[in-house]
């Protein structure tokens, strides 16, 4: 049987690279004693595959990997919860198991669906560092009003232009804490740029779904301004958190869309350094009949 594990990554561990996270989970699985399946051959390895890598310095509530167990089916109804508990017992501070889901059995003669191949969307949170709230909020307002904003992205052969704006489906702004259904609440169509209640959102149609659960581990400064982005993700059109961040930084630094497209970096005297916000991944989604559902809903 196959399972999908959702975990959160916080604190110091935001400086662990993707390969080290994979190694960490191999060791953690061995410590937890869950019956992982191994590949054949002289150097067997655990059968597991990770979804989207996370950039260094980002925290996340939506990290995923799939793995195969060496048993045919779950021995009990709450087996997934037991696995989650065993895994959590093997975690160090900063890694938290959010859920374990048993994946449905594959239809005969179909290809294996990994988490990576299913990803269609992502939700990111961007928190300006103190001193950069105003310029970045202004930049966000400009960005929201654009039809398209292209950035050159390094690809395997040369660079190619990515339309960041087109890949963003919804933008939300909050001050302080926000409700779990923030992007789905009734106010979301009202333009209310930094109003008294600190809520701002852009009028656009967000398709069905895009739910998220805030993790109890997330930390933010009291009353901090935060931007929420629902974006395209996955192999076809991946709008990473850094792409959005770059777009905002370019706009805030006065780099025009055109010069931005030339890949010109804003000069440092523009006052907006590269590190002007922290980035966080809230969730990864897959497209289920037109609805964006969490990758953990299989």
């Amino acid at each position: 049987m196959n399972i999908r594990v959702c975990f959160a990554k916080y604190d110091r561990l935001r400086f662990l690279g993707h390969l080290d996270v994979m190694r960490y989970f191999q060791h953690a699985i061995a410590r937890s004693g869950i019956p992982i399946a191994y590949s054949q051959g002289f150097h067997p390895h655990m059968i597991m595959s990770f979804a989207q890598p996370l950039a260094l310095s980002m925290t996340s509530d939506g990290e995923y990997f799939d793995c195969e167990l060496a048993i045919e089916k779950a021995p009990s109804d709450d087996y997934a919860a037991e696995l989650a508990k065993s895994l959590q017992g093997a975690m160090c501070d900063g890694f938290y198991i959010r859920s374990v889901t048993v994946l449905p059995e594959r239809e005969p003669n179909t290809r294996k669906q990994t988490g990576m191949s299913q990803i269609a969307g992502a939700m990111y949170l961007c928190e300006p560092l103190p001193g950069f709230e105003k310029p970045l909020a202004d930049a966000l307002a400009s960005f929201a009003g654009l039809q398209s904003y292209c950035i050159e992205k390094k690809a395997k052969n040369g660079t190619r232009a990515v339309d960041v704006r087109a890949g963003v489906h919804a933008i939300g702004v909050v001050k302080g804490d926000f409700p779990n259904d923030f992007l789905e609440n009734e106010d979301r169509d009202s333009v209310n740029y930094l109003s008294d209640d600190g809520v701002f959102s852009v009028p656009e149609t967000l398709g069905d779904g895009w739910g998220y659960e805030r993790s109890e581990h997330s930390l933010h400064r009291d009353g901090a301004l935060r931007f929420l982005f629902a974006v395209d993700a996955g192999s076809e059109n991946n709008i990473s958190a850094e792409l959005i961040a770059t777009a905002l930084r370019q706009i805030a630094s006065g780099v025009t869309e055109e010069s931005g497209a030339d890949g010109e970096e804003p000069s440092s005297d523009a006052g907006i350094p590269e590190r002007c916000f922290t980035l966080h991944r809230m969730e990864l989604y897959r497209n289920r009949d037109g609805h964006m559902v969490s990758l953990s809903e299989c």
């Binding site: 400086f15 690279g17 191999q26 410590r31 002289f42």
Partner: protein, 627 residues
């Protein structure tokens, strides 16, 4: 603890591998620093991936943290990129656990595993904001302790340490920490503490000794300044490894480190008595752990780490008496857990071939021999109890089992070496290749590949070769060329490959290894001029070192190329490792006559280590006639 990193996100994103600096690894100890009496910073003065591979730190980390009143944290050398940033931005050196400045600690313990780390020691002190010289430190500074193999001749770096712990850490560290607390409670100063520490056996406080030199630069006298300070400092030895503490959890780094595996220490010391080998002398007597204890330890380590590789560590695994029993029991345990087992320093015989077939991939792995010298005469000089027959029959068995890659390790520049001994290396390589071609053609797997590596012999303190001259760098390079040419002349030249080690680092290592206190100022100047990470070829600046040594009158002739006299006071004579100078000299004379000395397991040669009353020395064996 959350988000409290000593470095800003900005810096962490600018440096290579930021995970080196964040701590938080599996099995890291978490304590409240405000609730302990003693804060101990434990340092390996090299980059994280090297330092985290070291078992000794794991043992001491566990040992200290078992004490409720002590919090031991780790610190490693910032890599050159971060080093630069820390200097520019005045960021003080910090520990990984609490990310707090090392300067605020009670102790800074630095392990000295190789001579080429000396400038890194100064880097650590400097970045921490601790005065480099012991004499300049105040009550605000941590007490700086040195330990590890280089502390057996710590004279070149004596000025930079408050004291050295000579021997195995498990023995008297508790006494030291208790003494520290008592001294503080009595309102005692740093100087008071150091004076009292010198009364604990094995503790060497360099500032309490006076050295005088003869005109030729040799030592005239080396004496304690005060009567209550012992003239000889005796190495500390753990008598029973089964009852001494061993970490049941080892720290598991996130990064892939050099030794990416859990380590099971089978034994300490070695019974062989190779005459070039310092470890073989300073860790005497040989002491084994029991197989039952080792199996428990192994299980525990695997449970708590989840590691997929385990290393059986020892200076000479084949000499471990319970090896077969242990290995066969472990093979099954490891297979079940999908853990691979590595057994370095294994002598290749029928048992080894059987084990290797079970734990290694025949197609990918190679077999390794360390004959160290190319001719039997030369191997007798160095007392390496390995014959051509051993090597050829071992290789033959491995070839028959399917191996076709062999690695051979040798030293060039050994005492009494002649051209024939150099050529003998190539000839031995050739003979091994020939052994492979004795196999019927249908049993061979392609061509055999024999790799010959040579390093530059360095005479080390506390070995029978401590009096011996080393050869010049030029002579060494000439030997390399001779060997290269001889390799090419061999019948099986196409199956032989030759690699060599750089000579410049080794020359410097020779000077440090047998150096005295006169070298300290040169090390300091080299550091001031930018030398750090000397052990890393790409960061080693031979030109700067050469200039600095010249300026300080430190010559290769005096430290490396000179034969020392029998009665000369050696810079490390005040350290007592149990093995006597008399025994070492007897071995030195036997070496010159190419006479061998039997392994401790066969008979006792009266080296002096029996005084510790433990290990192999307590077992009944034959006795060599005393000379």
């Amino acid at each position: 603890m959350r988000n409290q990193l000593a470095l800003s996100d900005d810096i962490l994103l600018r440096v290579e591998k930021p995970a080196r600096y964040i701590g938080g690894e599996i099995n890291m100890v978490v304590k409240d620093p405000d609730k302990v009496d003693i804060r101990f910073a434990m340092c390996f003065p090299d980059v994280y991936e090297v330092g985290m591979s070291h078992l000794g730190i794991q043992i001491l980390y566990d040992l200290f943290n078992r004490r409720e009143d002590t919090y031991c944290e780790r610190v490693y050398s910032p890599w050159v990129d971060l080093d630069k940033i820390m200097r520019e931005e005045h960021i003080p050196l910090f520990t990984l656990e609490t990310q707090s400045p090392v300067k605020n600690f009670d102790f800074l313990g630095i392990t000295l595993q190789y001579e080429m780390c000396y400038t890194n020691v100064l880097q650590i002190l400097d970045l921490a904001g601790i005065p480099l010289h012991s004499e300049d430190r105040t009550e605000e500074d941590p007490i700086v302790i040195g330990g590890g193999p280089c502390s057996y001749n710590p004279e070149p770096i004596a000025d930079f340490f408050d004291f050295f712990y000579i021997g195995e850490g498990e023995k008297v560290y508790d006494d030291i920490l208790d003494l520290y607390k008592a001294n503080r409670a009595d309102g005692g100063t740093r100087r008071d503490f150091l004076r009292k520490v010198s009364h604990i056996e094995g503790m060497y406080v360099p500032s309490l000794y006076r050295v005088e030199y003869n005109e030729d630069g040799t030592i005239r006298s080396f004496e304690p300044i005060y009567e209550d300070v012992p003239a000889k400092i005796r190495k500390q030895v753990v008598k029973d490894l089964d009852t001494c503490v061993y970490p049941d959890k080892q720290l598991l780094p996130f990064l892939r480190v050099i030794q990416d595996r859990v380590v099971l220490e089978l034994q300490r010391g070695c019974t062989r008595g190779c005459r070039f080998c310092q470890a073989g002398m300073i860790y005497r007597p040989n002491r084994e752990r029991s197989v039952g204890h080792l199996l428990d330890m192994a299980k525990n380590l695997l449970d708590t780490s989840g590691q997929d590789e385990m290393n059986l560590s020892s200076l000479s695994s084949s000499d471990f008496s319970g090896l077969q029993e242990l290995v066969y029991a472990m093979i099954d345990e490891c297979r079940e857990r999908h853990v691979s087992l590595s057994l370095p320093s294994l002598r290749i015989d029928a048992f080894a071939v059987d084990v290797m077939q079970k734990v290694q991939d025949v197609n990918k792995s190679s077999i390794t021999f360390a004959p160290e010298a190319g001719t039997q005469r030369m191997r007798n000089v160095i007392n390496k109890g390995l014959t051509d027959e051993d090597i050829l029959s071992g290789a033959g068995k491995a070839f028959a089992a399917g191996w076709n890659k062999v690695k051979l390790y040798f030293m060039l520049g050994l005492p009494t070496e002649g051209d024939d001994d150099v050529k003998g290396i190539a000839e031995l390589g050739n003979a091994i290749a020939a052994e492979y071609y004795k196999l019927p053609k249908d049993q061979r797997h392609g061509r055999v590949n024999v790799t010959i590596s040579t390093s530059y012999f360095i005479a080390k303190p506390f070995t029978p070769f401590q009096w011996m001259p080393m050869i010049t760098k030029e002579h060494f390079l000439q030997n390399q060329r001779l060997l290269k040419a001889t390799v090419n002349e061999q019948l099986n030249a196409k199956s032989l490959e030759y690699h060599w080690h750089d000579a410049e680092t080794s020359e410097m290592e020779g000077i440090f290894a047998r150096g005295d206190r006169k070298i300290g100022p040169a090390i300091e100047e080299a550091y001031r001029r930018g030398c750090i990470y000397d052990a890393w070829v790409e960061h080693f600046h031979y030109d700067i070192w050469k200039e600095v040594l010249d300026r300080h009158g430190i010559t290769v002739e005096f430290y490396n190329l000179r034969e020392r006299g029998k009665d000369e006071i050696l810079p490390w004579d005040h350290i007592d490792i149990g093995v006597t100078k008399k025994f070492l000299y007897r071995e030195y004379e036997k070496a010159q006559r190419a006479e061998i000395t039997p392994n401790c397991m066969k008979q006792c040669s009266g080296c002096g280590a029996a005084a510790f009353g433990c290990g192999i020395c307590k077992q009944p064996r034959g006795k060599e006639e005393m000379v």
